[in-house]
């Protein structure tokens, strides 16, 4: 009887921890709506802004879940996106074809992601450090591409060329399509299950015959697709690209994923929806700060406190007598 009680209590606890990020998002949304009504703010316009700001991070973060599930970490996602967007924009300027632009965005992002993971697999390098080196190379690549384009500090696609797809519906369509594919691959194909296994216990997974390197490469390819789509959406939203394009995306992705309840160690508790919940929550939080007229410094401090509180609640069933590393 006592055991049953303990098991039930543990189950309830687990559910609370799992829904904490979603509850956080709902609270954030409610707060946003209340403030919008009080301050008489145009809600549809604000919602559109929130979508515009969060959709790119959601797409990139959704792909990044495939890397994080393995217990890996890629700090070069933002720089990868910037390079892919620059190459996509240059491809458009040469061909006047949006399809070519999409193809180059996707191709470049997947290629860069693959190189990173293949390098790490072939030479037994720690993935994280490989992505640090890649970050440095890509930042240099951004400067070279902008310089090579001969337009000074920017690479530009005519706004008229992308105006037809710079709509909320198109962005939602891309987002939903990529989310659907990711959910299918993650939850219904072997890849997702195997990734969770590797993330949970890489040694055990290897001993049971799983090829960890192959899984890492596939995970990075899935992330690359997200980065490529993010690059494409970036051009449609802001067709003037500079060295600062997507500069904060890499860290926004990490924050969003963790905020959405994803454990950084990966494994079986990984969820695709963490990316959506986290990115939306962070964007809503930023909007709330704006509505409260907080300066950037205070707003970032409040963000940090809320971030740690939400993550603390959503991960508090995982504490042991030794400190996590």
């Amino acid at each position: 009887m006592d055991n049953e009680k303990i098991i039930r209590r543990e189950k309830i606890k687990n559910i609370i921890f799992q829904v904490a990020p979603v509850v956080g998002l709902i609270i954030m949304f409610a707060l946003f709506m209340i403030l919008a009504v009080i301050k008489d703010i145009n809600i549809p316009y604000s919602m559109k802004n929130i979508l515009n700001q969060s959709v790119i991070v959601v797409v990139v973060a959704t792909g990044a879940i495939f890397i994080y599930t393995l217990g890996s970490f890629d700090i070069s996602l933002g720089a990868n996106m910037c390079v892919s967007a620059l190459i996509g924009a240059m491809a458009y300027n040469r061909t006047n074809s949006l399809l070519a632009m999409l193809a180059f965005c996707l191709g470049t992002a997947v290629l860069i992601s693959s190189v990173c993971s293949i390098l790490a697999s072939v030479f037994n390098l720690p993935v994280f450090v490989t992505t640090i080196a890649m970050l440095s190379m890509l930042n240099a690549g951004v400067l070279m591409l902008i310089g090579a384009n001969g337009t000074g500090d920017i690479v530009q696609v005519p706004a008229a060329a992308v105006s037809a797809i710079n709509t909320t519906w198109f962005k939602l369509l891309v987002l939903v399509a990529y989310l659907a594919i990711s959910i299918f691959v993650f939850n219904f194909l072997k890849l997702g299950r195997q990734e969770k296994f590797v993330g949970g216990n890489p040694e055990c997974a290897r001993l049971t015959g799983l090829n960890n390197s192959r899984l890492a490469i596939l995970g990075f390819i899935m992330a690359g697709i997200g980065v490529g789509l993010g690059a494409f959406l970036t051009i449609t939203y802001a067709p003037t690209l500079s060295r600062n394009t997507a500069s904060s995306v890499g860290m926004d992705v990490i924050i969003s994923i963790v905020f959405g309840g994803m454990p950084v160690s990966g494994g079986s508790r990984s969820k695709i929806y963490s990316a959506v919940v986290g990115a939306l929550s962070m964007t809503l939080l930023s909007q709330i700060m704006l509505m409260l007229n907080l300066n950037s410094g205070i707003s970032q401090m409040v963000k940090a406190i809320i971030f740690i509180l939400v993550v603390y609640i959503s991960m508090s069933d995982n504490r042991k007598n030794i400190l996590p590393r």
Partner: protein, 318 residues
């Protein structure tokens, strides 16, 4: 291992880098150390890189990734520079304040980590955001400028940098190799669970580690700010940049550590990377090429470290 082998293993990388960088310079008709300004640039780079490397290595070697080191340097230097400018304090007092603030900020970061017991990477993200925000709010986004304060700017001299480097190295060696804290740190590093089970106070040890890392970053913030006479604000993780310069020296230090003391290794790693930085300056290499070369060096060295046996076997067969 013989003394000769130890010595060779310890100095081989910096000596090789010194020879290669000088040969490259000479082939382009440039002298690496032509005037005192070149020496100053070199000494400053060694001081900056070695301080960040020491700070980052303390937690990273224990599996704790710390994104917040840059933000600690930023905030501690903002506080100390503001006080120094407003109260016309001397550079030594500003350095002392920077160290104190750095240590306190590191201590706070460590306390948050041991209290919430979340993965250190997550905690350091939140701490970095918080400290960046605090620095921004404190200076109202304008940063701190003291470009007309000759007394503070005159601190930037080779002897001063050498003193800072020497003190930091001696401090690191004494604290981590010759104290109970250091022994416990190493025990926790190699066997966390066993160490906790035999009674080592992990929380106390960890908080001290963060405080020491903060202290070192306080010094780095001071060196960095007295170089330019201004402190620029950074938001949205703009402060994590300095962290990246520490990876290559850290790996070089790890390699040298096999032959001698790992802290000395970090310093020699910093010397090696600073020689490369000076080479960039002397040859006027543009920043894109610098970044690519640095990244290739990092990957190349890591490939060597992680495939040493394979490479040795390759040579043995032939």
């Amino acid at each position: 291992m013989t003394k000769g082998k130890r010595l060779a293993g310890t100095i081989i990388i910096p000596v090789l880098v010194l020879i290669i960088t000088n040969v490259i310079c000479m082939s382009r008709g440039v002298t690496m150390f032509e005037n005192s300004l070149n020496w100053l640039t070199f000494a400053r780079a060694v001081a900056n890189v070695s301080l960040v490397t020491f700070a980052l290595s303390i937690n990273l070697n224990s599996g704790r990734f710390d994104f917040s080191v840059g933000s600690i340097a930023l905030l501690s230097s903002v506080f100390s520079a503001t006080l120094a400018v407003n109260h016309e304090l001397s550079p030594v007092v500003m350095l002392a304040l920077s160290l104190l603030f750095g240590m306190l900020l590191g201590l706070a970061s460590g306390l948050v980590y041991v209290t919430v017991k979340l993965p250190p990477m997550i905690v350091s993200l939140a701490v970095a955001l918080f400290y960046e925000g605090m620095a921004y709010h404190f200076t109202k986004g304008h940063g701190v400028s003291f470009i007309n304060n000759r007394e503070l700017l005159d601190f930037a001299s080779i002897p001063n940098y050498l003193i800072i480097i020497a003190v930091a190295l001696i401090f690191m060696i004494i604290v981590f190799d010759h104290t109970t804290f250091g022994y416990e740190y190493k025990a926790l590093q190699s066997g966390q669970k066993v160490s906790v089970n035999i009674g080592i106070n992990e929380k106390k040890n960890t908080v001290i580690c963060y405080a020491i890392a903060g202290l070192l970053m306080g010094a780095q913030g001071f060196v960095s700010s007295t170089t330019t006479g201004s402190i620029q604000m950074a938001l949205n993780f703009g402060s994590i940049g300095p962290m990246f310069m520490a990876f290559l020296p850290m790996f070089i230090g790890g390699y040298i550590g096999r032959f001698s003391n790992d802290k000395l290794g970090y310093l020699l790693g910093a010397v090696s990377t600073s020689l490369i930085s000076l080479l960039y300056v002397r040859l006027d290499v543009n920043s894109s090429v610098q970044q690519v070369v640095s990244a290739l060096l990092l990957v190349g060295f890591l490939i060597f470290l992680n495939n040493e046996n394979r490479i040795k076997n390759l040579f043995r067969k032939h």
